[in-house]
Amino acid sequence: MLTEKELIRACINKDQNAWTEFHARFNLLITSVVRKIFFSFGFELSGNVEDAVQYSYIALVENDFKRLRAFQGKSKFSTYLRVVVHNICLDYIRKSNPGLGTVKVVPLFYEPSYTPPLIDDIEKMEEQEYLRKAIEALPPQAKIVIKLFYSGKRMGEIAALLHVPLGTVESSINRSVEKIKRIIFKQLEKTGIKESRISSH
């Protein structure tokens, strides 16, 4: 049984058996990463997945195995491969949709089902950019947590992803939402838009 590094070296040396082994070891991984990416960007799970997997293999080989040679061994190869396949797959999505130059690839955010009152006024106020400033002022980790949380990740998954305890994630989300809430209602009072059913205590 070859180690990962030996296997990659053999693959770069164009060893046919090594490529068979590579395929056997990593094909499921590549397919699952591609599938996950298509799913999270809202593309239909159809034959495109297979095409993207094929495209990934070609991209791994091209430029004299540039992507395989770039592996430095700072992590497991499988993790590195996931990252590389992610890049390749987004590249594939962009290439196969020439119109995307103007339409950006945007990850899916969770859609709120409930529209609270006063939302129109708040959207008007957003032009003042105060909200953007508030979000930018959040600490980097809190921002990451919020983005992941509202794109549908569970708190446990986020904690595992960032290698922090679950409590940190929970309090981070709560603190950020509270902060935004305070800022919004302060602004609402300032602009004089106030309604009894939504006013703060």
Binding site: V33, S78, T79, P140, N174
Partner: protein, 215 residues
């Protein structure tokens, strides 16, 4: 349902029917619910507006990102990467989708699952086993021969239709009837079509809007 539970559920984004019912009845919880949702709304619309997944020159090397995912980095470079992740959606998506938690493996479709043991084999083939059993029973009880055969036939048809291979077989048969050359041509044409365009939901919507405006 108590107020404390409701507020906790709202904070954790676990708004079930009972939570919603309580929030509508209790004025204090209603205020909290509305405020929380307003804040979420504002936050989301702001996040959505700013997000696009494009690589930039400042993005860290893939090796570093992989090391970050595995938590192999020292604190200073970790913080540096997190600072970058907070502002770069491309790299955040990398970390999010390249980590091995929550992989879509079997649930989403045709990635073959490894069958291990007799038990899972039996579980997978319950309809076939039942069909065989029904057919065998038709010989044991000659009185209910027709009933048993009908059950076996229904189960058999179900098994045949359930396999996606049946559809493929049907397609191949139809094409075969038309002539063998067209099979290859059609397949190639289909592949070309598929490579050419992946349907984009957002783009489609825009096109629809545009055509609506025209009409």
């Amino acid at each position: 349902m108590k107020c404390a539970e409701t507020i906790n559920a709202i904070r954790h984004n676990r708004v079930t029917d009972s939570v919603q019912r309580h929030a509508e009845e209790c004025p204090d919880c209603k205020i909290f619910f509305d405020q929380h949702k307003t804040a979420e709304h504002a936050l989301l619309s702001e996040l959505k507006r700013g997000s696009s997944v494009m690589p930039s020159n400042h993005c860290p090397d893939d090796n570093l990102v992989a090391a970050y995912i595995e938590n192999n980095l020292a604190a200073p470079s970790r913080d540096k990467i997190e600072e970058h992740l907070a502002s770069c959606d491309y790299c955040l998506s990398k970390v999010n989708l390249a980590s091995d938690s929550g992989d879509i493996k079997a649930g989403a479709g045709d990635v073959p699952l490894q069958v291990s043991g007799l038990r899972s084999l039996v579980q997978k083939n319950i309809p076939i086993i039942l069909a065989t059993l029904a057919f065998a029973l038709s010989f044991v009880f000659p009185r209910y021969f027709i009933q048993c055969v009908v059950v076996a036939a229904v189960l058999g048809i179900y098994v045949a239709l359930e396999k996606s291979n049946a559809l493929t077989l049907g397609k191949i048969y139809r094409l075969w009837k038309r002539g063998q050359d067209s099979v290859a041509d059609e397949h190639i044409e289909q592949l070309k079509q598929r490579v050419k365009r992946i349907p984009i939901p957002t783009e489609r919507k825009e096109e629809e809007k545009r055509s609506d405006l025209l009409h």
